[in-house]
C-alpha cells in the first residue's frame, strides 16, 4: 500500500509546479492587462494589406 504515499508525493509535487507557474505568471504581470495580450497575438505583419491603397 505504500505506493499510495509515493503517488501522493508525486501529485503534490505536480500541483506545486502549477502553483509556481501561477505565482510566476502573476509576478510577470500576465493578469495586469487582459486586453493587450489577447489583441497582440492577432496582429500579423502582412504587408499585402497595403497593396490596395
Amino acid at each position: 500500500m505504500s505506493v499510495i504515499i509515493i503517488l501522493l508525493v508525486v501529485s503534490i509535487l505536480i500541483a506545486g509546479s502549477f502553483l509556481i507557474a501561477f505565482l510566476w505568471s502573476v509576478k510577470d504581470g500576465q493578469f495586469d492587462d487582459h486586453f493587450s495580450s489577447s489583441q497582440r497575438m492577432l496582429f500579423d505583419d502582412k504587408k499585402s494589406l497595403n497593396k490596395k491603397n
Binding site: 500500500m1 504515499i5 502549477f18 505565482l23 489583441q39 496582429f43
Partner: protein, 805 residues
C-alpha cells in the same frame, strides 16, 4: 450649393462638413487628422486603419514647435526618465488617448516611425506605455513630439513625475491567496481520505504519513499566507485598539498549535484543513474587497493639471524652466488652452481667462495689459506673455491645496463591525473559559483543553468578516457596472450614513455644453459659412457653441473685424455688414417671453435675420432625481456662477432648498464644515472642478463627476460618470442595504457556530464535524451575500429606466 452628403473623416470618423480635405480617395476633417494619416502612410503603418474603423481622435491642429522644448533640459528629462544605462533609456508615459486595438498596434510599432526606439510595450489597463530607446539616436523630445504628431500626446505633469508608479493591485495578496488555495485543496484531499479511511481499517502507517504530509503543506499557510492577518493585528495593537484581525490571528495560531499537539500525542490529525480553509476563504474576501478600479486615479492634486515647465524669455531666447524654478519678474508665454500655473501680470497680448477651474464661473474674463491673472486660469485665444509676480509655491491655488483638509485622513477603517466582532470574541472567550472550568471541576483535564481550544476554533469571528468582505466586494462590483468607482470599500459604509447632499451647479446639475437653438429666417449655406467665419474669430464660448451647432468648417476672409468683449462682433464680409451679439448690442428690442437663456442676434445690413438661443441645459434626469432625493435627504446647491439661471434651479429644486451663488472654493468648504459641525449632518458633496476639491475632501463622501474617460478628477472618494448621477439614490440605498445584508448573513452564520459550540463545549467536537462545518459555513456565507445583494440591487433598480450595460 451641391447636395450636402455627410462625409466621415477617415481618421477620426467625425463629419467633415464642407471643409473636406481629400487625399487619394480618403476624406479628412482637418489638417491634424490628415497629417497623422500622411505620417502613417509614409511609414507603411496603415494597418492602423484596417484593425478598427476610424480609430483616431480628432486632431484639429498640430502641436506648436516649441511645446516640448522643456524636454531638452536635462534637469527635467531626468525626472521623467525611469532608468538609463548607456544606450538604453527606459521611459514610461501615461497616454489617456489609448482606447482600442489600433492604438495598441500603432504604439507597439513605434520603432518603425522613430529610429532609435528599441521597443514599446503598452499596458492597456493603466493606459501606460513603456518605451525603451537609444538616447544617441533619438532624444526624449523627439520621441514625445512624434507621439504627439500621431495623436498620442503623453500626459506630462508634475504629479505623474512625483509618483512614478502607482501601487496598482497588491500582488502579495494574490501570492498569499495562491499558496493558501494550493494548501487548502491538498490538505482537504488527505483529510477526507483520513476521515473515511479511519473506520474502514486504514493502515496506521498510511494515516500517519498523510498527517505529516498535511503538516508540511500547511506550514506556508501559517507562516506566509496568514501573515496578512498577523501584520494587521500587530499594527492595530501598536495603535492601541483592537481590530477584527486580532481574534482571527489568535484563532489561526491556536488551531495550528492544537493540531501540532494532537499530532505529537498521536491523537489524530488535527484541524489543519479547517485552518487552511479559514485562511483561504478570508483571503478571497479580502481580495474581492480590494478590487477597486486601477484605471481611475483618486489622488490627483492640482499638480496633475499644470504643465511641468514654462518657456521663460531671457534676453530674447526661450528657456524651458521647471515651474518651481520660475522666479518673480520672469517673463513667460502661455498659449491657447493652457493653464497659468502662477499668479502673474499680463504684459503682452489679448487675454481671455477662463477661471471655471478655480471658481466654477463658466464665462471667460477679459484681462487688460497690466492686470493680474491668478493661477488656475486658462487662456482662451492668442498667445500671451506674462510676468510672474509670485513664485509657484506661494500662489493662491497652491495655498488652497495646502489647507489642512487635504491632510485629513478619512475613515480609519474602524467601524461597527469591528465593535460587534469584539463583543463576539469576548463572548466566545467567556464561553470557552466557563466550559474549561466545568471540565476542570470534573477533573477531566483532557476535555478541558479540548473544549477551550475547539470553542475558539469553531467560533472565530470569521463569519462576520467574510460576510462583510464579500458583501462589500459584490456591491463594489455592482456599482462599477453603473460607472460609480469607489476609492475603497470603506466608502460604502460612509455612503450609507449620508443625510445631506450638496451639489455643485455648473457641470453637475447642468451639462457642460450649451444647447443651441436657432429661431428666425432659414439660413442659406452662404450665410452659414459667413457666420462661421465670423464666429471663429472670437474665442467666446457662445461663438464656439454656435460654430459647433452650424457644423461647418469653412472660413472666408473678413474685413474690419471688431469684437466688443461681452457684447458681440461686427465685420464686413462679402460686401455685407454683419452684426452679431446680445440684443442690447445690436440695438434690437425683444419680446420678454423669448428671453430664455442667452440670445445672440444676427443682423445683416441692418436687417434682423434671427437669433440663436443658448442654454446650459439641466441634465434631463434631474427633475426625477430631485423628486427621489428630496424625500430622504437635505439638498443644498453651491455654485461658483453668478448667472441668471439661478431661478430655473430654484424652480427645479423647490423653495426649501438653499441655492447659494458666487461661492468661492473656501466658501464651499466652510459651508460643508458648518453643516457637519452645527447641524451634525453627514454630507455627500458632488462636484466636478478643482474649485470643488476642498469641499470634496471635507465632506464625508466626495464624489467627482466625469464626462468621458479622459477627464481628470480632483482628489475624492468616488468617481461617477455624469450620466449615472441619476442612480445616486440607488447608490445610497444600496449602501445601507449592504449593512443589513451583512448583519443578516452574520446572524445566519451564528446558527452554524451555535451547533459547533455545542459540540465544542461538551468536549466532543469530532474533527469530521469541524471539517464539515467550517468550509460549509464559509461557502454558505459567500453564496448568501452574493444572492441577497444581487436580488436587492435588481429590486431597487426596477424604478430606473432600463439601461443596457
Amino acid at each position: 450649393m451641391g447636395i450636402n452628403v455627410k462625409v466621415g473623416c477617415y481618421h477620426c470618423g467625425q463629419d467633415c462638413g464642407l471643409n473636406t480635405l481629400v487625399l487619394g480617395e480618403k476624406n479628412f476633417c482637418c489638417k491634424g487628422c490628415l497629417s497623422v494619416y500622411q505620417i502613417l502612410n509614409e511609414n507603411d503603418l496603415c494597418t492602423y486603419y484596417d484593425l478598427n474603423h476610424t480609430p483616431g481622435l480628432r486632431q484639429d491642429e498640430a502641436a506648436r514647435s516649441d511645446k516640448y522644448l522643456f524636454l531638452d533640459s536635462p534637469e527635467i528629462s531626468a525626472q521623467i526618465i525611469q532608468f538609463q544605462n548607456g544606450n538604453r533609456t527606459h521611459v514610461s508615459f501615461y497616454i489617456p488617448q489609448i482606447h482600442c486595438s489600433s492604438c495598441l498596434w500603432l504604439l507597439e510599432k513605434l520603432n518603425t516611425l522613430i529610429k532609435g526606439v528599441l521597443s514599446t510595450r503598452v499596458n492597456f489597463a493603466t493606459k501606460e506605455v513603456l518605451v525603451i530607446f537609444d538616447p544617441l539616436q533619438c532624444s526624449l523630445r523627439q520621441l514625445v513630439e512624434t507621439l504627439d504628431a500621431i495623436g498620442y500626446a503623453p500626459h506630462l505633469s508634475l504629479h505623474e513625475l512625483s509618483h512614478q508608479k502607482l501601487p496598482s493591485v497588491n500582488k502579495s495578496l494574490i501570492y498569499k491567496l495562491g499558496v493558501a488555495g494550493f494548501a487548502f485543496a491538498n490538505i482537504m484531499m488527505m483529510s477526507i481520505a483520513q476521515y473515511f479511511g479511519k473506520g474502514a481499517g486504514m493502515e496506521s502507517s498510511i494515516f500517519k504519513a498523510l498527517t505529516y504530509i498535511s503538516l508540511v503543506v500547511s506550514l506556508p499557510v501559517v507562516f506566509y499566507s496568514a501573515s496578512e492577518f498577523y501584520n494587521s493585528a500587530f499594527q492595530s495593537l501598536k495603535k492601541k485598539y483592537i481590530n477584527i484581525d486580532l481574534p482571527i490571528s489568535i484563532a489561526i495560531l491556536i488551531t495550528f498549535l492544537r493540531s501540532l499537539v494532537e499530532i505529537y500525542l498521536q491523537q489524530g490529525s488535527g484541524y489543519l484543513d479547517s485552518m487552511a480553509g479559514i485562511v483561504f476563504f478570508m483571503l478571497i474576501g479580502r481580495w474581492a474587497q480590494s478590487k477597486t478600479s486601477t484605471i481611475i486615479h483618486f489622488d490627483r492634486d492640482f499638480n496633475s493639471f499644470f504643465p511641468i515647465a514654462l518657456n521663460v524669455i531671457k534676453s530674447d531666447t526661450q528657456v524651458a524652466t521647471p515651474i518651481s524654478k520660475v522666479k518673480k519678474n520672469d517673463i513667460f508665454q502661455i498659449y491657447n488652452n493652457e493653464f497659468i500655473p502662477l499668479d502673474a501680470m499680463l504684459s503682452k497680448g489679448e487675454a481671455m481667462i477662463d477661471y471655471s477651474f478655480v471658481s466654477g464661473e463658466s464665462l471667460p474674463v477679459k484681462v487688460k495689459i497690466g492686470e493680474i491673472i491668478y493661477a488656475g486660469g486658462r487662456q482662451t485665444g492668442e498667445k500671451i506673455e506674462l510676468v510672474a509676480i509670485k513664485e509657484f509655491s506661494q500662489n493662491y491655488i497652491t495655498n488652497l491645496w495646502n489647507h489642512s483638509v487635504f491632510n485629513r485622513k478619512k475613515s480609519e477603517g474602524k467601524d461597527t463591525y469591528d465593535t460587534i466582532a469584539n463583543y463576539f470574541t469576548a463572548t466566545v472567550l467567556v464561553i470557552g473559559v466557563i466550559a474549561g472550568f466545568y471540565w476542570y471541576s470534573q477533573s477531566e483535564m483532557h476535555k478541558m483543553w479540548n473544549s477551550i481550544t475547539t470553542v475558539l476554533i469553531v467560533a472565530c469571528p470569521c463569519a462576520l468578516l467574510l460576510s462583510k468582505q464579500f458583501t462589500y466586494g459584490n456591491v463594489l462590483r455592482l456599482f462599477n457596472n453603473l460607472k460609480l468607482y469607489l476609492r475603497s470599500s470603506d466608502v460604502i459604509y460612509d455612503l450609507s450614513k449620508i443625510n445631506s447632499i450638496v451639489l455643485d451647479k455648473t457641470g453637475t446639475i447642468t451639462e457642460k455644453q450649451f444647447t443651441v437653438k436657432y429661431h428666425g429666417a432659414t439660413l442659406t449655406q452662404d450665410v452659414k459659412i459667413n457666420l462661421v467665419s465670423l464666429f471663429s474669430q472670437s474665442s467666446h464660448p457662445y461663438s464656439r457653441a454656435i460654430i459647433e451647432f452650424l457644423s461647418i468648417r469653412n472660413s472666408k476672409s473678413i474685413l474690419n473685424f471688431k469684437e466688443i468683449v461681452g457684447s458681440g462682433i461686427e465685420a464686413w464680409i462679402d460686401d455685407q455688414y454683419y452684426k452679431l451679439g446680445s440684443p442690447s448690442f445690436v440695438g434690437h428690442q425683444f419680446d420678454q417671453k423669448f428671453l430664455k437663456g442667452s440670445i445672440v442676434c444676427v443682423i445683416i445690413d441692418q436687417e434682423s435675420i434671427g437669433h440663436f438661443q443658448l442654454e446650459t441645459a439641466i441634465r434631463e434626469f434631474f427633475p426625477e432625481l430631485v423628486h427621489k432625493l428630496k424625500s430622504s435627504f437635505k439638498l443644498h446647491i453651491l455654485s461658483g456662477d453668478h448667472s441668471k439661471s439661478a431661478e430655473k434651479i430654484q424652480l427645479l429644486f423647490g423653495e426649501n432648498v438653499p441655492v447659494l451663488l458666487e461661492q468661492k472654493p473656501e466658501d464651499k468648504l466652510k459651508y460643508i464644515k458648518q453643516l457637519q459641525e452645527e447641524k451634525d449632518q453627514n454630507v455627500a458633496m458632488i462636484g466636478d472642478g478643482l474649485n470643488d476639491a476642498a469641499a470634496l475632501m471635507q465632506s464625508e463622501v466626495g464624489i467627482a463627476l466625469v464626462e468621458g474617460n479622459n477627464s481628470f478628477t480632483p482628489k475624492c472618494d468616488a468617481v461617477l460618470e455624469a450620466g449615472s448621477l441619476q442612480y445616486l439614490p440607488y447608490f445610497i440605498k444600496m449602501s445601507g442595504t449592504a449593512k443589513k445584508i451583512i448583519v443578516a448573513v452574520f446572524a445566519f452564520a451564528v446558527i452554524y457556530n451555535i451547533v459547533g459550540l455545542y459540540f465544542a463545549v461538551i468536549g466532543e467536537l469530532e474533527p469530521v464535524i469541524a471539517a464539515i462545518l467550517m468550509p460549509l459555513s464559509s461557502l454558505t456565507i459567500i453564496f448568501l451575500t452574493y444572492v441577497l445583494s444581487n436580488i436587492m440591487s435588481s429590486h431597487y433598480l426596477k424604478s430606473y429606466p432600463s439601461k443596457s450595460i
